[in-house]
Amino acid sequence: MSPDERCSLPQQAWLLIAASASATALAGVEYSQTGDFSGVFGTVATALAIMFALAAWFRRSARTWSTSPSISPLILLLMFAPFLFEGCVRQLGWEPHPLEVVLIVGVQAVACGLAAASVWWRHQPLTLIAGLFVSLFAVTLSAHGLTLLAVCVFLLCGLGWMITKYWSTLERRMGTRQPRRYPWKTAMVPIVVLLLMTAGVGFASTDRLWALAGWVPSSGGSGQDDPAARRGIGDGEALVAGQDDIQSFGPIENAPFRTSEEPSLYDLFNDLYEEPVVRNQKQDRSIALPPDVVQQLEAEMAKSQRATKEFSTQRKSRGEGQRGMKSLSSEALFYVKGRSPLHLRQDVFDLFDGVTWYPVPMQENETQPRLTMETTGPRPWLRWSEPVASFEIFGPVEPHAVKVVHLKTNIIPTPLSLRGVHIDQLDRSDFFRWAGPRLLQMEREELPELTPIHLQSQAIDPHRLAEWKLWGVAPDPRSRVIPDVPDQDRIRALATAWTHGVPRGWEQIEAIVRRLQTEYVVDPDARAPEDHPSPVMYFLLESQRGPDYQFATAAALLLRSLDYSTRLVGGFYVSPERFDTRRQHTPVVTADTHTWIEVHLAGPQWITVDPTPGYAVLRPPPGWGERLLIIAIAVGSWITTHAVSLALAAMCLAALWWWRRPLLITWAWWRWRGFAAVEPRQRILQTLAFVDRCGQLRGKSRPPGLPPGRWLSRQLSNEPHLSDEIRRLGRLADWACFAPAAAVLPTSEVSRWPQLCEQVVAAVWRWQPDREVAHPPASARSKNPPSLVSLSMGIASPS
């Protein structure tokens, strides 16, 4: 057989490792689905062992074969092996595998078969193509760390294979061995990128990583129903239910509206915050308001109380036998698609009596923007006209979508600056009405379940509020009431102290919020004593810990004392922590019920402010420059917090790099010393390998066409006393490598060769390519290696 048909061992090694990597990637997919580690990887390990054994056998046997065998058809038959196996599995009633997995296992089997026969050139490209196909399939199906790592290994091996293939082709065409200059520096770029991506997959936040998936459009389903199929669009029964996947927005846009007799949203508040304390003693209320509005406010308060929709800030402690939050949060109330964090409003309270917040019911004569339907393309959008305070403070219009599952209310959870609402096929505006300040409700008992409600809103950019001078210019008197609570003056004093020297406006609001967020502690179970006259004063002045509504109440009162109009808002906080990476949406559960405040800007415009630590408010999407800045700040912050560790790591890396050659030579020396072969030929070749390695590491590699004896005598020409030893080593190396097996060691060397090896290794050890050596060889015969410092001194730069 022509040697050209066979490949070199390194090339075959690249290929075998690549095939193993693709098989491991596929195993990672199966493992992530089944969790059967021993079963999956045991099978793969067995198959790979067979592949390596066959590859070794082919490689050994190919030398003696005159022609290469035509085994490609037999290898292609391996494609059907998984189908036979799957047939048996299904006949036996075991758990079936999806068809695509069986098919891809067949492709992998062919890849392994071809890799086993990869000693011949012609099998190699197809092996890599099949492996690449399997790797792409695996990485598409599974984000398991092992799969990603295996795919990275596959890519690196493919790169190595291409490099060696390039050299081999060049050498076959030119007929000479070209000086091999591996593009390590260039190759380091993709390698580093791959490693960073792998590290990113492993350590970055999963939510943010998978948020990138939205860049790639996806097609619809196939419409087929396979009981063994995974959950997804168009496959399986999960589509019909559509309860846990907001991705099914499209197919069920026209889901039927359903009605329910379930209790309203307020039960959720009671579930979360426990029952309010019913106090028997009456409290005198004295509202510091102008006389002309007192009557109106009292009437509104009475109406609110009749409506039993007030929100008390004095609530019972959590009991032992009560239902835990875990069971409540186990099921999503609704799903939200779009950017988070997001504050979805459900109710607004703006009258506070010191203990309880009261929602302001709609006045019959109050003018609300008129709701109209506007058809944009095929979609009808609910719109209304309202004066916008300033376009400059708003970000772009952003889409969100809400799909209700268990939310028993007819108030649509919406963000503050809502601009439009759309439900598929619903083109009548009389289905909606205003339920409060920018609160929309549907003219139904409940929101339609499993029907996506599309929202358009605009976030306010607080950075653009720096020049805002209209705070409190059009104040709503209801939202500026400070209740007559004990130590009322202390609130004002506190607010004044916290904002001392801070100009009026957003900076003051930020100062208040910052103080609350940094000096107070969130404790959902903290409660004021039941006999305390004002829980918020207890929170603010004594305990400094409490649930989110105390933060909101305190912030509202503090800001009111500084003449800002504020109101309390109850609703849901769409937490980015809950973002579902696979389904690209955020479930909202009962535990996400939250309370925050809104501060009046001007006209009908308010701004969301969340004083509770750990909660963020949605801001307009950052531009690219701002994103880069955020990333840079995050990286800088991370570097700052890990400065010591990073500095140590950098120093260690720098030291390793600086002393890499001495270290590698030391390692080679220990290997030569520790794994000494007994058989003379092997030991002599080990010595020769050590000499070659030292030459490489000192930038004096042996030229490919120069025998080692001649090369060494040139390199160690400054040690003439060793010329005889070098010549002897060269002769022994020739004997070890090229003499027939029957040729025994020369009798003159029988007892001297171990000493010879020691002498040459010691000489090479202290070899200084660019310096003259004046030391006698006495120390060189020591069996102890020189110290690292002395070694490093002896290693000069290749230049």
Partner: protein, 323 residues
């Protein structure tokens, strides 16, 4: 012999051959002063059973070397001075009519010797040169449809003068391929030249007349057979093939090394290993014989052969030193 191995020669003959070769080397060095390397290659060519082409200027000892070699191996020596009017039959021999028996008798030419010195071979016509072809390649001549065998140790030393090209017929590639090696003797060093002058005064008038044969024809044949059986590692043969391929694919080489050239190279390496008292071939043997063996076979300008071969030997990788 340092290393005992399976070989065709009996162990007792190892010492003999070492002694004989040392004497042969010493004798040739005593005749041609200061040319140890050239003499070593001549010995390689002799034991490899190849023919030698010496290309050098007149008066550098080409003929002396050939005559000394013939004297040392104890064979018959013949010399042909090539001129344009030299006929093939002047070399091979011819049939003459015996007046007494009235039958044609074959009269042997100079090729029926053990060592044939063909002086200034490039002055002979191509027809005459080709007559040598059969004799060199097959050690036989055919005259009037009758085949005559030559001595098994038939060894041709041809010389040519590179400087005088007027009125010459350069050897064709086919004939060059018949030579195992092409060597240049070159001028001796100053000290050697002075010793040469001194030896002409103090030494015998013709040292070759007093010389006793060092190797008999049978001994030479025996050792030549032994050389041909020395083992060569597979990895080294692959290396030789790579070098040959490199010469064939090199852009500056019109005609690369032929398979016959490879065989000659291997034989030369075996002979060098034998002369180095080794029973196996090592990379040094191949590289030391590469220049004279391969140089004669490459269709390259004369002055570019050596650098080109050095380039090839530097770049074609040696076999890995591992088992």
């Amino acid at each position: 012999m340092m290393i005992s191995s399976a070989s065709s020669s009996p162990p007792s003959s190892a010492t003999e051959h070492r002694t004989a070769i040392a004497r042969l080397r010493e004798f040739l060095n005593s005749v041609v002063h200061g040319k140890r390397e050239v003499i070593e290659q001549v010995l390689v060519c002799l034991f490899a059973r190849g023919h030698l082409l010496i290309e050098d200027k007149p008066g550098l000892g080409k003929t002396t070397l050939a005559k000394a070699l013939a004297a040392a191996v104890g064979g018959r020596f013949a010399r042909v001075q090539c001129t344009p009017d030299l006929l093939p039959s002047d070399i091979t021999g011819f049939n003459v009519l015996n007046q007494q028996s009235m039958a044609f008798e074959f009269r042997e030419g100079p090729v029926f010797s053990d060592v044939l010195l063909t002086d200034e071979i490039n002055r002979a016509t191509p027809r005459t040169q080709s007559a040598l072809l059969e004799a060199m390649a097959e050690r036989q001549v055919t005259v009037d449809a009758t085949r005559y065998r030559l001595s098994p140790q038939f060894f041709v030393i041809a010389t040519q003068n590179p400087s005088e090209q007027h009125g010459t017929y350069p050897l064709p590639e086919a004939q060059l391929d018949r030579f195992a090696m092409k060597l240049s003797i070159g001028y001796p060093a100053a000290d050697d030249e002075q010793r040469l002058l001194q030896a002409a005064i103090e030494g015998p008038a013709d040292p070759l007349e007093l010389a006793e044969p060092i190797l008999s024809e049978d001994e030479l044949g025996h050792w030549q057979t032994h050389v041909a059986q020395l083992p060569v590692a597979t990895s080294l043969q692959q290396y030789m093939v790579r070098v040959a391929q490199a010469t064939r694919e090199h852009p500056h080489v019109l005609l690369g090394v032929s398979p016959r050239g490879l065989l000659v190279w291997q034989r030369a390496a075996q002979a060098r290993a034998f002369l180095q008292e080794r029973e196996y071939v090592v990379p040094d043997d191949l590289q030391e014989t590469a220049l004279p063996v391969l140089g004669v076979r490459l269709a390259v300008d004369h002055d570019r052969v050596e650098p080109l071969l050095h380039e090839l030997l530097d770049t074609v990788p040696l076999p890995e030193y591992r088992r």
